[in-house]
C-alpha cells in the first residue's frame, strides 16, 4: 500500500474527471482557497463511509451536475460510489465503500462537521463525554442495559400477576374439591347406614312401585298435554281461516249486490239508448231519401246539358226546325253546369252527415253491449266465488267441531289421570305416616341423588384443576423468561462496567502516547475520569476547561483525542483526514504538528491527509497533483 489512486468525477468544485495520487504517510494538500482541498476530502469521505448527512452529500456532488462518481484504488482493491441527484433535490449515493461502519466517520475525518471537533470548539464538555461514549460503544451498551431493565420490569409484572392469579384460583379449586370430597364421604356413609336397616327393603319396594305408577301417569299426562297443544294449534289456525272466509264472503256479497244494481241501471239505460238509436236511424233514412232526390235531379241536369250540347252546333232545332239562339244555349249550359256542381256538393255533404250518424249509432250499440256484458260476467264470477267460499266455510266449521270434540275428550282423560295421581299421592302420604321407615327411604333416595350430583361436581372440579395446571406451566415458562432477562441484565451491566473501564484506560494510555503533540497545545496529559469527564491541565499544573482554550489549542486537542479514538476503534482503517483545523494553528506550531503526524503515519502504516491553505499568489487555479505534498512539510 504505497500508493493510492483517487478518481473524482463531478465532485465538489471539480467538473469532469480528476485523478489524484496519495501515498502512505503524510499527504499535505497545500493549495490556495477555493482550489478543491475540501472537495478532495469530501470525495474521500463519500468512498470511505456510508453515513453521510444530506448536507454532506449535497456538498460532495458538483452543484451543476446530476451525477458524480468517486473511485478509490487501495491495497489492490477498487471501491466505487455513484452519486445521483433525485427530482426532489436529495442526493443518492450507491456503491462499494471502504467501510460500512458508521463510527469510522466520527474518528477518521477530523473536520468542522466532526461531532467531537464541534463539541471541543463549542467548549461543551458534556457533549465531549457523550461523543466519547458513543464512539467507544458505551452508549450502545447503556441502551441495551436500559432496554433490558424495561423488559425485566414488564416481564416481572406479568409474571407476578399470572402467578398470583394461578395461586388464588388453585386455592379456590382445592378448597372446593375438599368440601365436595368431605360431603361425598358423609353422604356415602349415611347411605351405607340406611342400607344396613333390614326393614327398609319392603317399604322401599312399595314406594318405588307407587312412584313407578305415578311416573306412568305423569308420562300419560305429558302425552295428553302435548296432544292438547297440537289440537289447540290446529283449532286456532282453522278459526283464523274461518274468520277470513267470513270476511271475504261479506265483501263478495256486497259486490254482488252492487253488480245487480249496476246491471239494473244498464238495462234501464239500454232502453234509452235504443230510443236514441231508433231516432238516429230515422234521421239517416231521411237523409238517404234526400240524397236520392238530389241524385235524380243530378241525372236530369246531366241529360239536359247533353241535349243542349247536342244541338248547339246546328243552325236550327232538329225537332221543330226553328232557328236557334246559340248564345242563349251557351248560357243555359253554363247555368245547368253550375247547378250540377251545387247538387254534387250537397250530395257529398249528405254522405258525410249519414256516415257521422251511422258511427254514432254503432258507438251507442257498443256501449250498451260492453257494459252490460262485463257486468254480467263479473256477477257470474262473484257468484262462483261465493259458492266456493261457502263450501270452504262449511268444511272449516266441520273441522272446528271435530277439534272441539277431541279437546273435550282430552280434558276428560286429563281429569281422570289427575284423580288417579292424587290417589297415589295419598297412598304415599299414608305410607309415610303409618311406616316411619318410609322417611328413611326418602332420605336414601335423596342421598343417592346428592351422591350422583357430588360425583359430577367432583369430576368437573378435577377438570378445572387440570386447566389450572396448564396455567402453572405458563407461569413456569414466564418465570424462566424473567430469570433469563435477569441474567442478561447482569451480564450486560458487568460488560458495561468492564468496557467502560477498559475504554477509559486504553484512551488514557493512547493519549499518553501523543503527549508530545499535546505539548504544542501547552497542555499536560489530560485524563479521562471514570465517567468520561475530561480533566485538562495547563503546562505548569493549572487546571483549565475547554472553554478557556484558544482555537489552536482546541484544534490540537481534537486531533489528539481523535487519534486516540481512531487507534482504539479504527486501527485497521487506512485513512485519517484533517481538514481546515490546521488553519487555526500558527505556522510554527503547525509545522511541528505536521512533522509529528508524518512520523506517526509512518509508524501506524496509515495515510494521513491534511489540508493547509497556501497563500494567494495570483489567478485562482484548481487543485492538481503538484499541490499534494507527500511526506513533505510545506511551511
Amino acid at each position: 500500500m504505497n500508493e493510492v489512486k483517487l478518481i473524482l468525477e463531478n465532485i465538489g468544485v471539480f467538473k469532469g474527471k480528476r485523478e489524484f495520487k496519495l501515498s502512505k504517510g503524510l499527504n499535505v494538500i497545500y493549495a490556495p482557497n477555493a482550489s478543491g482541498k475540501t472537495s478532495l476530502i469530501a470525495g474521500l469521505k463519500a468512498i470511505a463511509v456510508p453515513t453521510l448527512t444530506l448536507e454532506e452529500l449535497k456538498r460532495t456532488l458538483n452543484d451543476y451536475e446530476d451525477k458524480g462518481r468517486v473511485m478509490l484504488l487501495i491495497n489492490g482493491s477498487d471501491y466505487v460510489v455513484e452519486l445521483s441527484r433525485r427530482p426532489g433535490g436529495s442526493i443518492e449515493a450507491r456503491g462499494k465503500r471502504l467501510s460500512e461502519d458508521g463510527v469510522i466517520k466520527k474518528v477518521a475525518f477530523v473536520d468542522l462537521e466532526n461531532e467531537l471537533v464541534n463539541a471541543v470548539y463549542g467548549g461543551d464538555e458534556e457533549r465531549v463525554k457523550q461523543v466519547l461514549r458513543d464512539v467507544t460503544g458505551i452508549s450502545h451498551l447503556e441502551t441495551i442495559v436500559n432496554v433490558l431493565e424495561g423488559m425485566l420490569r414488564e416481564y416481572e409484572y406479568t409474571y407476578e400477576k399470572k402467578r398470583k392469579e394461578y395461586e388464588s384460583r388453585k386455592e379456590e379449586i382445592e378448597l372446593q374439591i375438599k368440601e365436595v370430597e368431605a360431603r361425598l364421604d358423609t353422604v356415602r356413609k349415611r347411605i351405607l347406614e340406611i342400607l344396613r336397616d333390614p326393614s327398609i327393603e319392603p317399604v322401599r319396594e312399595e314406594i318405588e312401585q307407587i312412584e313407578k305408577d305415578r311416573e306412568k301417569l305423569e308420562n300419560e299426562l305429558s302425552r295428553l298435554r302435548s296432544e292438547e297443544i297440537g289440537f289447540e294449534n290446529k283449532k286456532a289456525f282453522r278459526e283464523r281461516d274461518h274468520r277470513e272466509i267470513i270476511a271475504q264472503l261479506e265483501v263478495l256479497v256486497k259486490e254482488r249486490e252492487d253488480l245487480a244494481e249496476k246491471i239494473k241501471e244498464i238495462e234501464e239505460k239500454i232502453h234509452e239508448y235504443k230510443e236514441e238509436i231508433e231516432h238516429r236511424q230515422e234521421v239517416v233514412k231521411k237523409l238517404e231519401s234526400k240524397k236520392r232526390g238530389l241524385e235524380d235531379e243530378l241525372r236530369e241536369i246531366i241529360r239536359a246539358i247533353e241535349r243542349r250540347k247536342g244541338v248547339r252546333d246546328y243552325a236550327m232545332c232538329p225537332y221543330c226546325g226553328a232557328s236557334i239562339d246559340k248564345n242563349r244555349l251557351e248560357r243555359e249550359i253554363q247555368e245547368l253546369e253550375e247547378r250540377r256542381s251545387q247538387i254534387r256538393e250537397r250530395i257529398l255533404g249528405l254522405d258525410e252527415e249519414i256516415s257521422r250518424e251511422l258511427a254514432y249509432i254503432n258507438e251507442l250499440k257498443q256501449i250498451c253491449e260492453e257494459k252490460y256484458e262485463s257486468s254480467r260476467k263479473r256477477l257470474n264470477e262473484v257468484n262462483e266465488k261465493i259458492s266456493t267460499l261457502e263450501r270452504d266455510k262449511r268444511k272449516v266449521e266441520e273441522e272446528l267441531k271435530y277439534y272441539e270434540k277431541e279437546l273435550t275428550k282430552i280434558k276428560v282423560a286429563t281429569e281422570d289421570i289427575e284423580k288417579r295421581r292424587q290417589i297415589l299421592d295419598k297412598r304415599l302420604e299414608l305410607l309415610r305416616k303409618e311406616k316411619p321407615v318410609a322417611l328413611l327411604v326418602d332420605e336414601l333416595r335423596r342421598l343417592q341423588s346428592e351422591e350422583s350430583y357430588l360425583r359430577e361436581s367432583h369430576d368437573r372440579l378435577y377438570g378445572r384443576r387440570m386447566q389450572i395446571d396448564q396455567m402453572h406451566k405458563d407461569v413456569i415458562l414466564l418465570e424462566d423468561k424473567v430469570k433469563t432477562l435477569r441474567l442478561l441484565l447482569e451480564y450486560f451491566k458487568v460488560r458495561l462496567d468492564e468496557v467502560q473501564r477498559l475504554a477509559i484506560d486504553e484512551i488514557n494510555a493512547t493519549i499518553l502516547k501523543y503527549f508530545k503533540l499535546l505539548k504544542f497545545a501547552e497542555l499536560e496529559y489530560p485524563i479521562l475520569a471514570e465517567d468520561f469527564a475530561l480533566t485538562l491541565t495547563r503546562a505548569g499544573g493549572t487546571p483549565t476547561t475547554l472553554a478557556e482554550l484558544s482555537d489552536a489549542e482546541k484544534a490540537i486537542l481534537a486531533i489528539v483525542m481523535l487519534l486516540a479514538l481512531n487507534e482504539r476503534v479504527a486501527s485497521d482503517f487506512p485513512l485519517y483526514c484533517i481538514d481546515t483545523l490546521i488553519e487555526f494553528v500558527d505556522d510554527t506550531r503547525a509545522k511541528d504538528v505536521l512533522k509529528y503526524l508524518m512520523e506517526m503515519a509512518r509508524k501506524a502504516d496509515k495515510i494521513i491527509v491534511v489540508t493547509k491553505t497556501k497563500p494567494y499568489t495570483g489567478e485562482p487555479a484548481p487543485l492538481t497533483q503538484e499541490d499534494i505534498l507527500m511526506n513533505e512539510i510545506p511551511i
Partner: protein, 55 residues
C-alpha cells in the same frame, strides 16, 4: 474474569444463549443506526423461543 460474571455466563449458556454472538449483533445493530425498539424486539425473539431453538 470475575466469579460473578462466570456464573452469569454459565447460567446463560445452559439456557442456550450465545452471549458473544448476542453482544456482537446488538452492538452492530445499534452501530448501523438501530433503535432501542429494535434491540427490544431482538431480545424478545431470543427469550420467547424455547431453549434449544436458540442459536
Amino acid at each position: 474474569m470475575s466469579k460473578h460474571k462466570q456464573d452469569v455466563m454459565e447460567a446463560l449458556r445452559e439456557k442456550g444463549v450465545d452471549l458473544i454472538k448476542l453482544e456482537k449483533e446488538l452492538i452492530s445493530l445499534l452501530r448501523r443506526g438501530g433503535s432501542a425498539l429494535d434491540v427490544e424486539s431482538y431480545i424478545k425473539r431470543l427469550i420467547e423461543v424455547e431453549k434449544g431453538e436458540r442459536s
